[in-house]
């Protein structure tokens, strides 16, 4: 059900990510100011963008779940949020490394994007305790969806508030001007972004397939146990 097209998707992910890495190390020019460290940009920024999109997508799947009552949408929402949290951890770690290398501190508070990302990450971490503290599967799906929608609305508000409150030190990659990247860097960045997106979608489908298979297996086991109980 979920595994359709998984193999070609995985192949495309491997090819794009390999190409992205090749471009990062052999094609993109060294940054004049920061040198080699700047290459973490090609991992950090795509990861952050994909994680934020994954959270918002989780909210959209949750809306579909509440509208249709179909639990498969809740599963999609859950897996998207789950993967985004993992990516988010990666974003915070690579961000800290980059901040240390270029600004001299592991953590910079007057740094709106980093701080708003941390707040968003902290909020989404509560998804797990909330979800697993509800026993009834139908209610769990409903409550998780409500959380996903409220948190999805929170993401843009939070970014606006933190950005207004702090000084502007972070390079604004997605500004209207395109962040003033030279051509080679932009190409490399775009390939890395596509690769990260493909990786996210592949992992998402894989996780959905695995969860679905586990649920099917459980159902079959229960049915066999029931039959054996009747026979005995």
């Amino acid at each position: 059900m979920y595994s359709k097209g998984l193999a070609p998707l995985a192949a495309a992910t491997v090819v794009t990510l390999t190409a992205a890495l090749a471009l990062v190390f052999f094609y993109a020019p060294l940054d004049a100011d920061q040198g080699f460290v700047q290459k973490i940009f090609y991992i950090h920024v795509p990861m952050a963008i994909v994680a934020l999109c994954g959270w918002v997508a989780g909210g959209i799947f949750a809306i579909r779940h509440l509208r249709s009552g179909d639990p498969s949408w809740d599963l999609r929402s859950y897996v998207a949020i789950h993967l985004s949290i993992i990516l988010g951890l990666g974003v915070l770690i690579t961000g800290a490394i980059w901040a240390r290398a270029s600004w001299g501190h592991w953590w910079v508070w007057d740094e709106p994007v980093l701080v708003s990302f941390l707040v968003t990450f902290l909020l989404y971490c509560v998804y797990y305790p909330l979800r697993f503290a509800i026993e009834d599967p139908e209610r769990r799906a409903r409550y998780s969806s409500v959380f996903a929608i409220a948190a999805g609305a929170f993401v843009p508000l939070n970014f606006t508030a933190v950005r207004l409150a702090e000084a502007y030190t972070h390079p604004r990659v997605l500004s209207q001007t395109g962040g003033d990247l030279p051509g080679e860097m932009r190409l490399t960045f775009l390939v890395a972004l596509v690769g990260m997106t493909l990786l996210f979608v592949t992992l998402w489908k894989l996780e959905l397939t695995a969860k679905h298979a586990a649920a099917q297996l459980n159902k079959l086991r229960r049915r066999r146990a029931e039959r054996e109980a009747v026979a005995a």
Binding site: L66, V119, T120, L122, L123, C125, V126, P129, L130, A133, I134, E135, R139, R142, Y143, S145, V146, F147, I149, A150, A151, A153, F154, L157, N158, T160, A161, V162, L164, A165
Partner: protein, 224 residues
């Protein structure tokens, strides 16, 4: 919708009036937190950013108590089933609960903010007067909308006392930023509003978004 909401609100206020559970606890807690800040910061009087931060962090922490208790009586006494059986729009319940929380917060602030002025604030509270109540009311509105939602969300979980602060406080970070930034110039020695429009605008946006989101999703929390 207004009728049933008013009835539930009256019931909650009457209950609070007779049991005196939430508001006195929240007020007492705020005063205790001032004492903690006094010793933690080792300062006898605060002004500007520090004062605004201490005031708002204290109010948010006090709000956590109110939010944790918001659905407590319904859950402990089984009243929630009766409410759900009643042929009443769920939105009425949200409006009633959010209004109750809003009024609790206002009641707490009537004591806690003057107490802050007496205990910790360096410049006089009078200089912040026309603007500060407005910021407080807008802040309370946001806390009430998010708080009622979080309270209902956490009510059905096994670990609600853990979920409420973990969920509520990060959700309130944008509100804290707006309120603290708007309050900060009012509490400086050379008092006067500054950038008030920008922060109040963003605060209003926050309030509107979360009132709408909460009204939209609240039905799904109380379906069964």
């Amino acid at each position: 919708m207004i009728g049933p909401a008013g009835t539930i609100l009256r019931k909650d206020l009457l209950l609070e009036w007779r049991t005196k559970e939430s508001v006195p606890a929240m007020t007492l807690f705020s005063i205790t937190v001032y004492v903690l800040f006094h010793f933690g910061l080792d300062r006898n009087s605060l002004d500007g950013e520090l004062a605004a931060g201490v005031l708002w962090v204290t109010l948010l922490l006090a709000a956590v108590i109110g939010v944790t208790r918001l659905f407590a009586t319904e859950r402990e006494q089984g009243g929630i089933d009766a409410l759900l059986l009643a042929p009443v729009d769920r939105t009425a319940l949200f409006v009633a609960k959010a209004s109750a929380l809003f009024l609790f917060l206002v009641a707490v602030e009537l004591v806690a903010v003057p107490a802050f002025g007496l205990m910790l604030l360096g410049p006089s509270l009078g200089g912040a007067l026309p603007e500060l109540p407005l910021i407080l009311l807008l802040g309370d509105l946001g806390i009430a909308a998010v708080g009622a939602l979080v309270s209902a969300l956490a009510a059905e979980t096994r670990i609600r006392e853990l979920i409420v602060p973990l969920l509520l406080l990060p959700m309130l970070v944008p509100l804290l930023i707006c309120c603290a930034q708007a309050t900060e110039p009012l509490l400086r020695p050379d008092q006067g509003p500054e950038d008030l429009g920008r922060w109040l605008g963003l605060l209003t946006l926050y309030d509107v978004v979360f009132v709408l989101v909460s009204v939209a999703v609240f039905d799904f929390l109380l379906e069964d």
